[in-house]
């Protein structure tokens, strides 16, 4: 059945990573312990605030929040212990470098700036600025004209479709 083979799989160089079974990595990622602790705290907070809710019966509103919080806490604890048992992360990988490579930082800053600008400058201006700055930065300053053009065109299309077809008044 030759034709069906076209839909059969082949990984790089013939090896196929079986993702249906989870194989843990040997080393921790930087900050992994911190993440597990954070999650645990989240669960604890969830449980704490759930105590304020009406309880008493099996069908109270507080049952599931408490249940979910407990699951989070239990799993985080397990995660923590599993992570502790693994080796420390490589010396070369710093927390900041792992979490926040330059590109990501810039985009996040842009996003936050967008959130701030939106109520003030309104949709069209903020979005245009976001897109242009984003594209220009990501392309490292090349193709500025193309970025300006593409942003303008896509924004125009989007606004037209949403404003006139779907009758959505943009912020």
């Amino acid at each position: 059945m030759e034709e069906s083979r076209e839909f059969l799989a082949e990984g790089a160089a013939g090896t196929v990573k079986d993702l249906s079974k989870y194989v843990p990595e040997a080393r921790r990622k930087p900050g992994e312990l911190g993440m597990a602790v954070l999650m645990f705290l989240l669960g604890a907070l969830g449980y704490y605030f759930a105590l304020d809710m009406t309880s008493g019966e099996y069908s109270s509103p507080s049952v599931f929040p408490k249940l979910a919080s407990t699951v989070i806490m239990a799993c985080s604890a397990v995660n923590f212990f599993k992570a502790v048992r693994r080796e420390k992360p490589e010396a070369a990988a710093t927390l900041k470098g792992y979490l926040l490579p330059m590109d990501v930082v810039v985009v996040v800053v842009l996003l936050v700036a967008y959130c701030v600008a939106l109520p003030r400058l309104h949709f069209v201006a903020s979005s245009y600025a976001f897109m242009v700055i984003g594209m220009v930065y990501l392309q490292r300053g090349k193709n500025i004209v193309r970025a300006l053009l593409i942003s303008a065109v896509s924004l125009a299309v989007l606004v037209a479709v949403f404003r006139y077809l779907f009758l959505v008044i943009l912020p």
Binding site: K17, L19, S20, G46, M53, Y58, L111, F130, Q139
Partner: protein, 497 residues
């Protein structure tokens, strides 16, 4: 019988209806594809839009949009890892890796073909067995819905191929977040801290767009400079042999989809998830391991959520009870046009049933054509360098999010979720489970409590119900089986290890 045939032919004899169906499917594909825009939203817009139209034309358009919209959500899931609707999450899990390998064309082609097949399965079941299924679906008690939600939740540990424990953690966080807001049963405010925006709860669509879309964009930026994968677009339409190979799976999953769609209140999303899970457990030798681009992982959820379209009409047309959100809106449209949805509908306006059946059929054909034709342009989208497309996608997500409730706060949520999702993914907490938790959380919570209330808050009668009621018993055993089949004990017994 002859009468019914006449009704069935109504759309075929009307130029206007035919055109509207095709237009609807086309528009639906785009609406479904845009993250944040949902078929439900489009449908409610259309109701007002088509108020003064003739009912038949209005219905033709809406059916088209429905069919196209459900399909559209899977396209962006495959291409950009941004599901256009929760029903497409599972499709994205398998489809996106395929796209990254350059096989987006094949993925979409397969998706389209099986979708059309499943759509017809749904329509056939609708025509043949509607009243029977509708009456049966009424028997589902809150306890049974709870069990269904539990089945969905069990998926959480295995989605995304990551550490199952982390998956469960993410899922539990999702469930916790779904509790934010006003408790639908008692009106009590949970986790709102006096903030009025939190009172409305966290819309899972906002979370989904943020967790998938924005966080995907951010994650992509870590691989700056990596080229977009070149797409191989030679053989889009799957060969006949391939189609037959997946036929048993398609039939199974689409029937599952029809049935779940027929349950009042649950629709394509739950159906797709359960079908995906079912495929993972029953397919011995997937074309690729699940999670890396298994074709079965596209076939199963896609057929299920298309089958659910036909399924959703079953209770709606026979009993006037919506099978899902879109059919709820269609019921509204029927009222506005002077009809009486409800058990009398088939009796007083028999042409309606067959007309809808044929509209859906035509829409499915339109889907086949339009879907396949658009594969090439869609696939080309991935080839656009991500430095350009990601900012546009982000802005698109912003609009889509805003369009849900016209609330700027939603946009902030979305971006917040995006950033959270980004960090989560870095540590191996997959985002799929979190969205699942958000979606299934309310279903779990509300139905658990209803079942408890039915047992007058007494633990023993509550537990008894699981074994005394035949439907509940079946579902409980199914869940037990699901759990047991994961343990090594069982796997050894079956010779799988």
């Amino acid at each position: 019988m002859e009468q019914n045939l006449q009704y069935f032919l109504i759309p075929f004899l009307s130029w206007e209806m035919m055109v509207l169906i095709w237009v609807g499917v086309f528009a639906g594909i785009w609406v479904g594809a845009i993250p944040g825009l949902s078929v439900t939203m489009a449908a409610s817009l259309l109701i007002s839009f088509t108020f003064s139209w003739d009912l038949n034309s209005a219905l033709a358009l809406i059916c088209g949009v429905f069919v196209g919209g459900v399909y559209g959500g899977s396209i962006t899931a495959i291409l950009l890892n941004i599901p256009g609707a929760p029903a497409a999450i599972a499709t994205g899990i398998e489809g996106y890796p395929l796209a990254q390998r350059g096989e987006a064309g094949k993925a979409i082609g397969l998706c389209t073909t099986v979708s059309v097949f499943a759509s017809f399965v749904g329509i056939i079941v609708l025509s043949v067995a509607a009243p029977v299924i509708a009456n049966f679906s009424l028997k589902f008690s809150p306890r049974d819905f709870f069990l269904l939600a539990v089945m969905g939740i069990l998926l959480i540990g295995s989605i995304g191929g990551g550490d199952p424990i982390k998956g469960i953690t993410a899922g539990a966080v999702g469930v916790l977040l779904s509790m934010v807001g006003m408790d639908p049963s008692t009106g009590e405010l949970r986790y709102t801290f006096g903030n009025i925006y939190l009172m409305a709860g966290i819309s899972f669509v906002t979370a989904m767009i943020g967790l998938f879309g924005v966080s995907e964009a951010l994650t992509q930026f870590r691989n700056a400079g990596k080229k977009s994968p070149k797409q191989n677009l030679d053989r889009i339409i799957p060969s006949w042999a391939t189609f037959l190979k997946y036929l048993p799976l398609s039939i199974r999953s689409s029937l599952l989809g029809v049935f779940i769609g027929a349950l009042p209140g649950t629709g394509g999303d739950v159906a797709a998830l359960l079908a995906y899970d079912q495929a993972k457990r029953t397919v011995r030798h997937p074309s690729r391991p699940f999670g890396t681009g298994a074709y079965e992982g596209i076939v199963a959820p896609e057929t299920a959520n298309k089958g659910a379209i036909g399924g959703a009409f079953i209770p709606m047309l026979t009993l006037g009870i919506p099978g899902d959100a879109v059919t709820a809106i269609i019921i509204g449209a029927l009222y506005i046009h002077g009809l009486k949805p409800g058990p009398m509908l088939m009796i007083e306006t028999p042409h309606l049933f067959w007309m809808i059946v044929s509209c859906l059929s035509i829409a499915s054909v339109a889907l086949m054509v339009l879907g396949l034709v658009s594969v090439k342009p869609f696939a080309k989208i991935i080839e656009i360098p991500k430095e350009i497309i990601m900012p546009v996608v982000i802005i698109l997500s912003v609009i889509g999010t805003y369009a849900i409730q016209n609330s700027v706060v939603d946009i902030f949520y979305m971006i917040g979720f995006g950033i959270i999702g980004y960090f989560m993914r870095l540590y191996g907490y997959a985002t799929g489970p979190m969205v699942l938790g958000l979606i299934l959380g309310p279903m779990l919570d509300a139905n658990y409590r209803r079942a408890m209330q039915g047992a007058e808050n007494q633990l023993l009668p509550f537990l008894e119900g699981f074994v005394t009621n035949p439907i509940s018993l079946f579902l409980t055993l199914a869940i037990v089986f699901l759990l047991v089949s994961q343990t090594s004990f069982y796997r050894r017994w079956r010779g799988l290890e």
